[in-house]
Symmetry: C2
Subunit: 379 residues, 2 copies
């Protein structure tokens, strides 16, 4: 049997994998990926012609990174993935996510594929324009802890605004719970935050958490927008990366998206499998429309290393055609004492997210002012 003649453009995209093992094992892994991620069919049974020649992936390069780690670049025909983000993820990492010793490091999409994605609606420069902040890092805090009433959370929001915080997000654990309903919380917090911003003459974007059951996301976003939300908090690990992409591309929503990493951690914490910080938190979340990408800073409650954070940030600004950059938002047990160091490490182009620690200094408004002053002094 011969393969059918396929009319393909010849355009290909590239994915780089880190493969653990001996050189021989790594070379075998590389050729297996070419099959596994495309035809998933015994190579010797494929009909000769366009299927093996065009559809099956190709190892474009192979090099040693260390005695037991190798990098293979594999190319795929763009037509194989030209059906949106789920199919792109499927081909770059779907089945091989189940195989140890394979890590997706980065990918390279030609303009012919990139043009099918909108990416972040605002990105770094768009968020700066919205907030009218030219150079300094943006300041963010979170409404928490879970268990407070809507009125109490709204009061915290007012204090954050008075203290000079630029972005206020819901804690990602605030959903639609019987002890604090979504509509009551978002209504009261939006009203209080917007009112305080008018009084202070500042801009502050309230980003309520709209991560919700699939059939309720739309109405929560609609409610949030009507109530005066200035952005949205979404955990794509909980609702689906492509659901976030759809929201980001929807002109009727049109709000910046802060992206929370809940349930995404398993992709990155295994050093020799999964997806790199660069590809997941940088490239993939940008294709999925994240304007800001929250991640655990090194030296906090989580285990990201400095190098991982550095690579992650590179992913948020890696050139990808018209796809905008996203704002790195290191968080996870940060405190005022670390601001100077974080500014040295990340530079000005970040969102500084400090949550619980602001409550450690007695008066919350004063703590926020101190936060703002420290950033303005160092930034």
């Amino acid at each position: 049997m011969r393969s059918p003649t396929l009319v393909l453009s010849g355009d290909r995209f590239f994915a780089d994998y880190h493969l653990t093992g001996t050189e021989e094992a790594a070379r075998t892994k590389a050729s297996d990926i070419c099959i596994e991620q495309t035809v998933e069919f015994p190579a010797d049974l494929l009909p000769a012609g366009d299927i093996p020649d065009q559809i099956v992936g190709r190892v474009e390069s192979f090099r040693s990174l260390s005695p037991d780690c190798f990098e293979a670049q594999i190319s795929y025909a763009i037509e194989v993935v030209d059906d949106g983000l789920p199919q792109l993820l499927n081909v770059v990492f779907g089945n091989i996510s189940i195989k140890p010793g394979i890590r997706l490091e980065r990918f390279h999409l030609p303009e012919s594929l990139l043009k099918t994605y909108r990416g972040p609606r605002f990105g770094r420069s768009g968020l700066r324009t919205l907030l009218n902040i030219k150079k300094r890092p943006l300041l963010c805090s979170a409404l928490k802890p879970m268990g407070l009433s809507a009125a109490e959370l709204a009061r915290l929001g007012t204090d954050f605004v008075r203290g000079g915080v630029d972005l206020i997000k819901d804690d990602h654990g605030l959903a639609d719970q019987s002890f604090c309903r979504f509509q009551e919380r978002v209504g009261e917090c939006a009203r209080a935050i917007n009112q305080a911003a008018r009084v202070e003459g500042t801009t502050c974007l309230y980003c309520p958490n709209v991560t919700a059951p699939s059939d309720q996301i739309r109405q929560r976003i609609h409610f949030a927008k009507e109530a005066g939300a200035g952005g949205l908090l979404i955990s794509p690990g909980l609702i689906g990366l492509d659901v976030m992409r759809e929201i980001a591309e929807d002109d009727e929503v049109g709000l910046p998206i802060m992206c929370h990493p809940a349930l995404l951690g398993s992709y990155v914490v295994g050093k020799t499998h999964g997806i790199s910080h660069f590809a997941l938190f940088g490239q993939i979340l940008r294709l999925a429309g994240a304007d800001a990408c929250i991640f655990p800073n090194y030296g906090g409650r989580f285990a990201f290393s400095e190098e991982e954070c550095r690579r992650l940030v590179e992913g948020t600004k890696e050139p990808m055609g018209h796809i905008k950059t996203s704002f790195p938002t290191p968080a996870g047990g940060m405190n005022l004492g670390r601001i100077e160091e974080m500014l040295r490490f990340y530079g000005n182009d970040m969102i500084l997210l400090i949550g619980g620690d602001l409550h450690r200094h007695g008066n919350l408004v004063d703590a926020c002012r101190q936060f703002r002053t420290l950033v303005e002094m160092s930034g």
Copy 2:
């Protein structure tokens, strides 16, 4: 400041975690989880009262499994997660997915929570009724390789039916590609498969792949159903677990769901982090509505061990109130020569999925008949 008085039922649910490290480190991890997964707030700053007493998780038990692995059972108030599957996943594993050395092993939901989930619409017994197969394992094969035309895939479908296969799924890489469009493929394959089943006087369910961009899933399902599909293939790792749950619960869809593991692998392949095979492929996918759960069999192209497969199968039938069992569907490079062994290992209550190997025996219809005979002899 005192916590507000919260009106909670007192009902709690339980999650078991395996924690790697010294006993001291594991005990610290257990108490950290209680905070991290709920209030995410410094414990010493929490207002006394109902927030620490009710909202924060509680370590209910702690025991040693080995010198460097401990199991902690942690309970949470049901009100914290009573907002659907995304929030349940958020609380049982959202933030701690980013921490190494923590693995979600299983969870226990009371009826008060379970009642908010429909679970698999058919489950094992419902699928058996649909197919009118009382005891033997079900036979499944896949339309592949990617690159074939709709007519060629339809011809394979006809052969599968004539050979006595019960379920025919699209390869999970078949999307809506320019070289083989979704509507043409699903239309032709459904027509051919249903026609062949009428001729043979058998029942065979065609499960097209409706994994698609978020804004196109509905129309593809609608088209598939109109075209005569007997089930759906969905990769929830690509589109979101809760999107699958919504489809499964939709009475207007009403078709059995075969669930493909693409992009879910990173949750299970790290032995000391992520989610157990039991919890992910068993418990979670059942809450998300999977009637059949495809997973890589031990000894195939992937790296699941016998023990992992055994535990996975236990998760597909673990008692969970009214939530139906799901059909374990071991796959991934299976062949006719392994059927007897697989039947010994899994028993009759499984779907045997053999793909590429059926093409190795010359005539496809004969290979399928051999497949069927081997199962009927051994089953």
